[in-house]
Symmetry: C2
Subunit: 108 residues, 2 copies
C-alpha cells in the first residue's frame, strides 16, 4: 500500500492503529495483508495507508462510526485481533478520530 | 521516534501527515528531525509517531485546534513546508482530526 488514500471531502472518520511488534512472525504478514483486503471490502471503507519502521502505523478511513463499529465486530477481524494480542503485538494503540479538514499537495 | 505516543484521555486532536518523497535528499533528514524537535517544544503538543516505508506517515497529537494553527503558522515551519513542496515531497496530504476514543494494549 504505497500510495496516499484518495478520501472524499471531510467530515469522515479515521482509525489510527499504531503498534510495536514482538519478535514472533508466524503468519503475521499474510494475516496483516488479509485484514487490509477484508477491511477494503467492508461497507463504508474509504481507504488505508500503512508504513512500518520499527513502529508500525496503519490509518484506515471510514464513512461513519457505524462502519468502524461493524468492522470492529467482524468475526474474522476479532480472531485476528486475538492472535495479535497473543503473539504478534507487544503494544498497540487504536485511536478513533473524526477528520475535520484535509489539505493536499501534488508536485505533478 | 520508536514508541507509541502516550496521549491523555480523549478528546484531543491529531494531524495525520502522509507523504511520498521525491528522490532529492539535500538536507531532508536533518530538516525532518528539526521539525519534530521544534513541534515538541510548541504549546499544546502531546506527542508524535512516525514511520516511513515508501509511504511516510507522521501523526502528531495536540491539545486543541489553536495549538495546531499556531504550529502551522510558525515561521520556521512555514519555511520548511516551502522547501518540502519545492524539492522533498512529490505528494502529501495533511488531515486534521479530533480523536474521540482510544484503546490501548500492552503485552507487558
Amino acid at each position: 500500500m504505497d500510495s496516499i488514500a484518495n478520501t472524499p471531502e471531510p467530515p469522515y472518520f479515521a482509525v489510527i492503529f499504531t503498534s510495536l511488534r514482538t519478535s514472533v512472525d508466524e503468519g503475521y504478514g499474510s494475516m496483516a495483508g488479509r485484514m487490509l483486503e477484508l477491511a477494503a471490502d467492508q461497507p463504508g471503507f474509504l481507504g488505508a495507508e500503512s508504513a512500518r519502521e520499527g513502529l508500525g502505523i496503519t490509518v484506515s478511513y471510514w464513512q461513519d462510526l457505524e462502519s468502524i463499529r461493524d468492522w470492529k465486530n467482524h468475526a474474522e477481524h476479532k480472531v485476528a485481533r486475538e492472535l495479535g494480542r497473543g503473539k504478534w503485538y507487544a503494544e498497540y494503540s487504536t485511536r478513533i478520530c473524526r477528520v475535520e479538514r484535509e489539505y493536499s499537495f501534488s508536485a505533478g
